[in-house]
Structures are given as structure tokens and as C-alpha cells.
């Protein structure tokens, strides 16, 4: 082979990220007729967080890396736009938005900010949607969550959201979360169901999940721009298509995985609550301060927020039209 792409994800082999990488590897290696080899390193073998992995991407010691929005926000604060609650209504909207120009806008911003070294290839999904889950009680409306200690990552936006809802954000490292839930250091978290089940959080008492879907768990797939630009055009095509395949795979994978996760959660005695549209509106209302905070305090916040909201309304009207056509 002529090119070796070194891809890394900080998650393990049960994660959607791995599914995506497998699809990418298989497509790229086949379509390039063996000219490109993809080496996959799962976990923290090469680097262990957004800062160091993205630095590796920037200097080319890592070719491909997937981060969450939290992982990249230290360098590209505007990627937190994906964490803004209740902006995208469901999977169809999110998938249409992320397949379109919104992702290209974000790519341009990141390329500019990184001195043309870090390239956003695509945005997929890693774990479905974030929901509020806790060890204490069913949360049907914002007042139910008041006063709970909710684990967040150390990033501004999730903390602002938890605060806006009257709960107290508590930073706990992911590996310590199980113990912290078990022993009451924190009383809740905001995660997707597959993560909740794979970490066995219900065993630690996390028995109440409210499907408020407050944030899409976007997976940002980065590539070293230098590595990408050094490829001849025909191979660039292969890589770009590979990321399309990867994106589609990560859209699908959490849906498949979450079926079993929800079943297991309920079978284990978990309380799964689906808020009514009114209740969901109440959450969105309570979360209002977060939008103001985002556009006022985050560099590039207004620009990316506008890009997202206009992409969302465009996607929504296209989807409405498509639905109408399908129903005729």
C-alpha cells in the first residue's frame, strides 16, 4: 500500500465509533484497491483526550480522530452548538442538518482556527441522544430536577444547562462516575442510554431516565489536513466517500444498539419516562438562558448558532415536504 492512515478513538470496541471505523476501513481499503491501509487504535493507546489527540492530528502523528463536542471545545468552542438543548427535534432533522452545509461551515471555521491543520471530515453520532437520568425520582418537568447533583463534563455549556434547570452541575471523571452514583457523590447524569447500560449505571442506582433528548451526541470526525491534502484526487474521493459511509453507519448503529439497551433498562426495573410535548416545551423554556449565554460568551457562537438554526428550519421544511409527498 502507498498510504497508511492511523485512526484513533478514545472509546472501546463496543462503541459506535468502532462500528464507524470498521465501515470506513473496509470501504477505503477496498475502494482504493489497497492503496490506502487504515490502522485502528481504540482506547487511549496513542492519546487520551481531545487536547492531546487533536494536537496529534494537527502535527500528523494521528491521521483520524473522533471527538465529542466536549473534547474539541477547548480549541473550537463553537462546536458546543451541538450541545444546545432542544434545537434539533429528532434523528431525521439531525441527520439532514449534519449531512448538509452546516458541517461545511463548521469545517471552514475549524480549518481557519487551526491554521489549516485540522479538518472536520463529517459529523456522525456516538450514543444517540443525551437524556437526563437520576437515582432519586421521575423527572417529568423542570422542577423535578431542581436540587439534584448532576454529573457533567468540565465544559461550560452542559454546566450552564444544568444550572439553568436549577440542579447543581458536578464535574466527575467518566471512569469514576459509577462509584459516584453508587455512593451519592452525584445523583444524576446526562448520557445516552447505550452508555448508561454499557457502564451498568442502573446497578449503581440510576433507575430514572427521562427521554427529553436534550442534546444530540454528535461525533466530530477530524483528519489531519496535511495527510488529506497529500492524497491524490482519486484517493481524496475515496476518503470522502469513506467518511460518508462512516457517518451513515454511526447514524444507524446507536439506533440498533439502543433497542436492547432500553429493553434491558426496563427489564432491570428502570423507570423510563417519555415527556409530553407540553412538558418538553417546559424544559426548552427553562433552558432559555443557555442560548443567550452561548451566543454572548462563545467565540464564533452567533455565527455557528445562526448556521445551525437556519439549517434546522431548512431541513424541517424539506422534511415536511418529503413527508407530505410520501403520504400522498
Amino acid at each position: 500500500q502507498d498510504y497508511t492512515l492511523r485512526a484513533t478513538a478514545n472509546s472501546n470496541e463496543n462503541d459506535e465509533d468502532y462500528d464507524g471505523l470498521q465501515v470506513f476501513k473496509s470501504h477505503v481499503e477496498a475502494a482504493s484497491n489497497g492503496a490506502i491501509e487504515v490502522e485502528i487504535f481504540m482506547g487511549t493507546q496513542l492519546c487520551s483526550n481531545g487536547a492531546e489527540c487533536l494536537q496529534g492530528v494537527a502535527d500528523g502523528s494521528i491521521d483520524i480522530y473522533i471527538s465529542t463536542s466536549g473534547g474539541a471545545s477547548g480549541l473550537f468552542p463553537y462546536v458546543q452548538v451541538l450541545d444546545l438543548p432542544y434545537v434539533m427535534a429528532d434523528d431525521r432533522v439531525a441527520e439532514a442538518v449534519l449531512s448538509g452545509d452546516f458541517t461545511r461551515t463548521m469545517r471552514d471555521m475549524a480549518l481557519e482556527d487551526s491554521g489549516d491543520s485540522i479538518r472536520l471530515m463529517t459529523i456522525g453520532n456516538t450514543g444517540g441522544w443525551r437524556n437526563f437520568a437520576n437515582t432519586q425520582r421521575r423527572v417529568a418537568q423542570p422542577s423535578d430536577i431542581e436540587g439534584l447533583k448532576i454529573r457533567t463534563v468540565v465544559a461550560d455549556l452542559p454546566q450552564e444547562l444544568v444550572r439553568a434547570l436549577g440542579a447543581s452541575p458536578t464535574p466527575i471523571p467518566w471512569p469514576e462516575l459509577f462509584t459516584s452514583l453508587q455512593t451519592g457523590v452525584v445523583e444524576g447524569s446526562k448520557n445516552g442510554i447505550t452508555d448508561i447500560m454499557s457502564m451498568k449505571f442502573p446497578d449503581a442506582g440510576l433507575q430514572y431516565v427521562t427521554l427529553d433528548g436534550h442534546a444530540y451526541m454528535g461525533a466530530l470526525w477530524w483528519m489531519s489536513n496535511q495527510t488529506f491534502q497529500e492524497l491524490p484526487d482519486d484517493l481524496k474521493r475515496v476518503v470522502v466517500d469513506g467518511f460518508y459511509q462512516l457517518q451513515q453507519a454511526t447514524f444507524a448503529s446507536p439506533k440498533r444498539k439502543s433497542i436492547q439497551a432500553y429493553e434491558e433498562f426496563v427489564a432491570g426495573g428502570g423507570d423510563l419516562y417519555v415527556p409530553s410535548p407540553d412538558e418538553k416545551a417546559a424544559f426548552a423554556e427553562a433552558a432559555q438562558p443557555v442560548y443567550d449565554w452561548f451566543t454572548a460568551n462563545v467565540e464564533g457562537g452567533q455565527e455557528i448558532y445562526d448556521a445551525l438554526t437556519s439549517a434546522v428550519s431548512e431541513a424541517e421544511s424539506e422534511l415536511e415536504a418529503a413527508r407530505a409527498a410520501d403520504m400522498e
Binding site: L46, C47, S61, P175, T179, S180, V185
Partner: protein, 429 residues
């Protein structure tokens, strides 16, 4: 080619290159020869990021807490308490030495601190009662290895961090093995005492006297309760528990028992800081080393090789005990864990050995290595506090080592010894 990093590393280690430089130099030079210059940057980055960790902070904290307790005259109270309980037995001070080590282990994560703190107090006292100096030094060194087995434990924090295990699980898993080592040593002392007619340390203490001694030792003995209770009940993370232990040691040393002076604090902080700095650099370098271990696919190759020897996990565990024991003779426990953990851990977990169980096997084995001739660190410390020759202590310690090796075998082949407590408390499957 890259897989040569291990022999290259071992060569430079044997000729005397400090572990820290060896961990970076061996992989670095091979990456360079391999034309992988860009990955040398990866080495540096993992060194830095390897140190940038909150869980690791438990190392300086526990070191500091142990040092504060030690200066605070708390050791003396533990010894008096042990004496009130066991001083009247034949071989009383030898028993007191072992029991004190077990109690001290609950405050400190270091065998060296144990040897120097208890040795400087008990070796002269034992000599005065007619024990030979070599016997006193040997029992001090042998029992001090309990320090890092009973929680808190510096090497377990390192292992948990480098290997991604739960510190709490390892701490809990170490309790019974630590008590077992202590009990084993006491049984041996009892046998020797009857045979060689060891002296009795004191008359039997009345229950009133014992009560008074426990009252004086009450505050120090509360430390492990606070640490473990705090972690178990989730009041704090292990790192926070370590900080609480520091605060607790300060308060009882300065205000309650008034055995510590403000003027001593600078020295204590400085000593703990310097020692931790070295350990943290080593852990960081280990994380770099681990990166190259991954890039080279060494664990897969090693696993394949090991499986050509035998596929019987019990036999493999036995072989690994021999290997670890041999390594422990030459290398300190921390660096050995740092180097061997990433290489051996995956091999054994893939064979179905529980990762916490394997961690304990490794930690206990390498800790006992600290007291094993010819290079055991604790032997040198025991030699310097007792003014006895290392060679002499090395011979005197052999029967105790035999007991400890027996305990290692028990721990290796009966996983329940280490796994029961973490399982019951939900910290291990």
C-alpha cells in the same frame, strides 16, 4: 523492529541508566531508526499527559499523610498499642513489630516509610531484649512489605492509573492479602519463639491498660477507617480521601496530640514533593512507553509466545510469579509495575484471569520483591536503620520470605482471597 524496544530498554536498565531515561530513550531510538520521527513527539506528549491526572494526585497526598503521621509521633502510639495487645507473648516484640506494620499500613502506602519509622524504634528495643540485630532487622524488613498491600497503597494507585483499573477495587482487594501476610509472619514467629525461646516483651497488660493504649492510638487508627469508609460510602474519591488524610494527620499532629511542630511542615512538604515528582515523571514515562508497546503489538506477540509454553492459566500464573519475583529482586515495585503492567496485564485478562485479581498478584509479588535479596530496597533501608550488613539481613530474612512466597501462592491460586471484599461491596464483578 519496534518490538526490540524491550530488550534495548532492559539492556540500558541493567547497565545503570535511570528508569525514567530508559523508558523514553529505548522507544525513542527505535522510532528514530525506524523512520518514525513523528511518533517521537507522541512519546513526549504522552509523558506530559500521563502526569496530568487527578487520580495520580493521591500519590503525593498519601505520601504526605504518611510522612506527617510519622513525624507526628503517631508511630510510637501504634507500637505501644501493639505492645499492650501482644507484648506478653513469647517473642512479644517480634509480634509487636508485625502488628505495628499492619496498623501502620493503614496509614501509609510505603514499605520504606514503614521500615524506617518502625525499624528505628523497634530494632534497638528488640536488641536490648536479647534478639540478634540481624533477626530484628529481618523481621522489620519482612513485615514492612505489608505497607503497600493493605490500603492505602502507592503502587496500587500507580497500577490502577496505568492499567485503567479502579483504585477503590484494588485497595479493597489488598486488605485480606495484607492481613494474611501479617498472620503468616506471626505464625512463623510463634514457631521460632517456642523453639529458640524468644524473650517475652512485657507482662500481660490489664484490660484497663489496653483500653488506655487504644485510646492513645484511637486517632491514628481512625485514619484507615476514614479513608476506606469515605471511599466506600462515596463521600470522597480516592484522591479526595488522600487529601482528607493529609488534613486529618495535620490536625491530630498539630492540635490534638501536639506531636508535630509548624516549623517541620516545610521539610515534610518538600520531601513528599520531591519523592512524588520522581514517581510522577516515571508514571508519565510509563505512559509514553505504553504507547510504543501498543504501536509495536508486543502484547499480542508476547501472548502468542506465552501460549506456546502452555495454555494452562494456573501454570502460567505460576510462571508469572517466578518472573515477577525475579524482577522484584532487581527492580523496585513502582517501576516494575509501570514497565510490566501494560505488557503482562492484557495477556492474562485475555486468558480469563480477573483484572483486579491479576493486579493484586502483581502488586503483592513485586512488593515482596522489595524485601528480597540481592537488591530489595527495604533491605537497604533496614540495613541503614539497624547498622547491620545487607548480606547478613539477607540471610536472616529467608525464612520470612518463604512464608511470604507461600502466601503469594495462596493469593494466586485462590482468587477469593482478594476478590471477596471488592465483590461484596460492588467494586468488582
Amino acid at each position: 523492529m519496534l518490538v526490540l524496544f524491550l530488550p534495548v530498554f532492559l539492556f540500558f536498565l541493567m547497565v545503570g541508566l535511570p528508569v525514567f531515561f530508559g523508558l523514553l530513550f529505548a522507544p525513542g531510538i527505535l522510532l528514530w531508526l525506524n523512520g518514525q520521527e513523528r511518533d517521537i513527539t507522541l512519546l513526549y506528549r504522552n509523558l506530559y499527559n500521563g502526569m496530568d491526572s487527578f487520580p495520580l494526585m493521591a500519590i503525593p497526598f498519601f505520601m504526605l499523610a504518611g510522612e506527617l503521621m510519622n513525624r507526628g509521633g503517631i508511630t510510637l502510639r501504634l507500637v505501644e498499642f501493639s505492645q499492650a495487645l501482644m507484648g506478653h507473648f513469647r517473642g512479644g516484640l517480634a509480634h509487636v513489630n508485625i502488628l505495628s506494620s499492619m496498623l501502620f499500613a493503614g496509614l501509609s502506602g510505603s514499605a520504606v516509610a514503614d521500615t524506617s519509622a518502625l525499624g528505628s524504634m523497634l530494632i534497638p528495643a528488640m536488641e536490648k531484649q536479647g534478639y540478634t540485630r540481624r533477626f530484628a532487622a529481618a523481621i522489620t524488613a519482612a513485615s514492612s512489605v505489608i505497607g503497600p498491600i493493605i490500603p492505602p497503597s502507592g503502587i496500587m494507585i500507580i497500577y490502577a492509573y496505568v492499567m485503567g483499573e479502579s483504585v477503590a477495587a484494588l485497595f479493597l482487594a489488598g486488605i485480606v492479602p495484607g492481613i494474611l501476610v501479617g498472620t503468616g509472619l506471626m505464625v512463623l514467629v510463634k514457631l521460632m519463639a517456642d523453639r529458640y525461646d524468644f524473650p517475652v516483651a512485657s507482662r500481660r497488660h490489664t484490660w484497663g491498660e489496653r483500653g488506655q493504649a487504644s485510646l492513645k492510638a484511637f486517632f491514628p487508627l481512625l485514619t484507615p477507617v476514614i479513608i476506606l469508609g469515605g471511599i466506600l460510602s462515596g463521600v470522597f474519591t480516592p484522591t479526595e480521601a488522600a487529601a482528607v488524610a493529609v488534613a486529618y494527620a495535620l490536625i491530630i499532629g498539630l492540635f490534638v496530640l501536639r506531636t508535630l511542630k509548624f516549623s517541620e511542615l516545610g521539610d515534610v512538604l518538600s520531601k513528599a514533593g520531591i519523592t512524588s515528582a520522581v514517581v510522577l515523571l516515571l508514571v508519565g514515562a510509563a505512559m509514553s512507553f505504553k504507547t510504543v508497546v501498543s504501536l509495536s503489538h508486543a502484547p499480542e506477540l508476547l501472548a502468542e509466545f506465552i501460549l506456546t509454553l502452555t495454555e494452562n492459566p494456573l501454570l502460567l500464573l505460576f510462571l508469572i510469579n517466578l518472573l515477577l519475583f525475579a524482577v522484584g529482586m532487581f527492580l523496585d515495585a513502582g517501576p516494575a509495575i509501570i514497565i510490566l503492567g501494560p505488557i503482562l496485564g492484557p495477556v492474562f485478562t485475555s486468558l480469563g484471569v480477573d483484572s483486579v485479581h491479576f493486579a493484586i498478584i502483581m502488586c503483592v509479588n513485586l512488593t515482596v520483591g522489595l524485601a528480597t535479596p540481592p537488591m530489595g530496597l527495604v533491605l537497604f533501608v533496614a540495613a541503614s536503620v539497624s547498622n547491620e550488613k545487607v548480606e547478613t539481613i539477607s540471610r536472616a530474612i529467608l525464612p520470612f520470605l518463604a512464608v511470604e512466597i507461600f502466601v503469594i501462592m495462596l493469593i494466586t491460586f485462590i482468587p477469593e482471597i482478594s476478590m471477596t471484599i471488592p465483590r461484596l461491596t460492588g467494586f468488582a464483578d
